[in-house]
Amino acid sequence: MVKRGELMAEMLAVRNLTRSYGDKVAVDGISFSVNRGDIFGLLGPNGAGKTTAIRIIMGILASDSGQVSLFSGDGPADAGTNRIGYLPEERGLYEDATVIDNLLYLAGLKGVTRAWASREAMEWLDRLGLADEATRKVDQLSKGMQQKIQFIASVVHRPDLLVLDEPFGGLDPVNQDLFKGVIRDLQEQGVAILLSAHQMNVVEELCDSIFMIHRGKRVLYGKLDDIKRGYHESILRVRFAPGEDAGFLERYTGAVVMESREDQVTIRYSGSREVEELLRDISENLTLEEISFQKPPLHEIFVRTVRERGDQVEPAGIR
């Protein structure tokens, strides 16, 4: 477990990062930082610039301008990439080699000894239910098993900063939950986690802070709670006794009916009346069976923010 004071240690800082491919600006002056013990979401639709930004952070690509600082004030920065774990979106393993050979080789490239890596690898394999597969060749394993091995390869050297690019892609719900649990455990151990994804609903469950990117530019950045709190709209969902009239809700300034049924109405609300006042009106006029008043999901905030800026969002780009 990490001590409270250590949590503020900055593990990654990105300043004004820019990278173009010909005329196309893939990453346009983005800046953010990730602290020890954070789960930081880098979110955006496909092609938004997430992978380019991550490749620059990992030193795989060079930036046109800007700066990436690693482990500032937290241990040797020159150990750089050896303290980072990376699970890229485009990932693979040596299919004609055994699971354990793959893990030992990749851990060896991170500077850990063979004996140490062997012990860690077996612990992880055991934890993810793959201990019996250690000496099997990778091409004999299912896709799901291979994804677990790839994940182990990214953490087997005990990184301080873990970069996961689309870690849930192709995973079934059971394994998604398994990965989420492991990620939370790593967070508790003080690992800073940079999580890139386009499945915003999944990431919303995990992240403390987010950076939303669209066409290379920042859309939103900050603590997830702050972003939601600062968003001026809420979603009001009311279920009531069938046949009652909920039409009065439409007359409120700032209310837009999203869905209306015989016993249920969903409203997007951005009016200025206090929530308590609104709830009082509802309870006086309807026989309530269920009511929820919450901030919209991230993907909706993202889409609306982008549209407000006059940009287009590709429908298939986000989920």
Binding site: R55, M58, G59, I60, L61, T81, N82, I84, Y86, L87, P88, E90, R91, G92, L93, Y94, E95, D96, A97, Y105, L106, G108, L109, K110, Q150, A153, S154
Partner: protein, 403 residues
């Protein structure tokens, strides 16, 4: 360009070597060449043994009467062919039947006309068994001797006049034996085969890493230059292992069937050949690796690869003219053009003594080009390896090199 750390290079090299040395392709190719050597040498040896033990029995129909004695004398003197001649006294028709029946391998008909014109009929039952070139020397000497006898010369005079003439080339430098030709030729062939084979495995390895997407994980831990050089070292070691097996097997075969002192090389020569091999391999390997990084899949690889293979072996295609005129200006120029240097120089070394200054200039040219090729390959490798789903165009390669 990214940094180069020895430790990481060796980790990659070790992994690539151990991974490839156990593959069936490597094992089969490494063992099949010695097997071919053994079979070829064994078959040649056995054929020679069998040929030695075979005897040829010819009948001679001597219409002159005393030519047979002259021929017998020459047959007794020669040692190359196990030949027996027998005078036949009966009619030619009977002799033809006996040859057909296999009692003789063939027969000669000698008369005054044949001795005068030098056209001696030689009959065999199957024309494919006839080897008149074996007999022609023998008969030529016998007929000449017989003619001189007819002129009236004494036996001693005839022997003096007909002492055979042989031309035997002798090197001015006693070290310049057949080994000085075989050595560089063998090294040139080994260089080509091994470098091409190792280069091919390297290219397919690069393509495989692109296809299965592991390359991005690797590049997050080590630099592209470390990955490239590590691969080159690993596959270079693979090539050397292969050469060690081939040379070891070749030496064993040679010890059994050849005089090894003929192909013995001095330490200086070995160092020079090794330098050309290693530098030549590095040149080819960087070409192959860069090519692998620019291609999407192995199918594309096999087409483009054919072209790259052709470039360094161009000197082999013109080995005849290089042998004939190793000091010609165009050959000297070819010896300094990067992809052709190793093969051209080794071929030249097989046919002439290269001056030290030329060995030095070709090695400098080779080292310089290796550095430039590896640098260029690293740039292409760095940028091409992450282009997973497409081939890199020549225009893009030019941009990669110039940016």
């Amino acid at each position: 360009m990214s940094q180069l750390g020895f430790g990481n290079v060796m980790k990659v090299a070790r992994w690539e070597f151990l991974k490839s040395v156990r593959t069936p392709t490597f094992i089969i190719l490494t063992l099949i060449i010695p097997l071919i050597m053994l079979v070829t040498a064994g078959v040649s040896y056995l054929s020679a043994q069998t040929a030695d033990s075979e005897s040829v029995e010819l009948a001679v129909l001597d219409h002159i009467g005393d030519f047979y004695d002259e021929l017998t004398e020459h047959v007794d003197r020669q040692q190359e062919v196990n030949l027996t001649i027998i005078r036949y006294e009966g009619p030619q028709e009977h002799l033809e039947s006996e040859v057909t029946a296999g009692d003789y391998d063939g027969f000669l008909v000698v008369d005054e006309e044949a001795v005068r014109t030098g056209d001696i009929p030689y009959f065999v039952s199957d024309i494919r068994d006839a080897s008149p070139q074996v007999l022609s020397g023998l008969l030529s000497a016998s007929v000449t001797s017989y003619r001189l006898q007819q002129i009236g010369l004494e036996r001693e005079q005839i022997d003096e006049a007909t002492v055979p003439v042989t031309v035997r080339a002798r090197p001015l430098d006693p070290d310049e034996g057949i080994g000085s030709i075989i050595g560089p030729l063998v090294v040139a062939m080994i260089l080509m085969f091994s470098a091409l084979f190792s280069g091919q495995i390297l290219m397919y390895g690069v393509l495989k890493e692109k296809r299965n997407r592991i390359v991005e994980i690797l590049l997050s831990s080590i630099s592209s230059v470390e990955l490239l050089v590590g691969k080159m070292v690993g596959y270079g070691a693979l090539g050397l292992t292969q050469i060690a097996v081939w040379v070891g097997a070749g030496a064993l075969v040679a010890m059994r069937f050849m005089n090894l002192s003929q192909i013995a090389m001095g330490p200086g020569e070995i160092v020079i050949y090794c330098a050309y091999f290693l530098l030549g391999y590095a040149l080819l390997a960087s070409l192959f690796a860069a090519m692998g990084a620019t291609m999407k899949d192995a199918e594309e690889g096999s087409q483009a690869q054919g072209l790259v293979i052709l470039i360094p072996i161009v000197p082999i295609f013109v080995s005849g003219p290089i042998f004939m005129a190793p000091e010609a200006l165009w050959v000297r120029v070819l010896s300094h053009i990067p992809p052709f240097i190793p093969a051209t120089v080794l071929l030249r070394m097989a046919s002439t003594q290269l001056p030290v200054w030329e060995i030095a200039t070709t090695l400098i040219a080779l080292i310089t080009s290796v550095v430039l090729f590896v640098y260029a390959a690293a740039r292409i490798f760095e940028r091409g390896m992450l282009q997973f789903d497409r081939n890199i165009s020549l225009k893009e390669i030019r941009r990669m090199l110039s940016s």
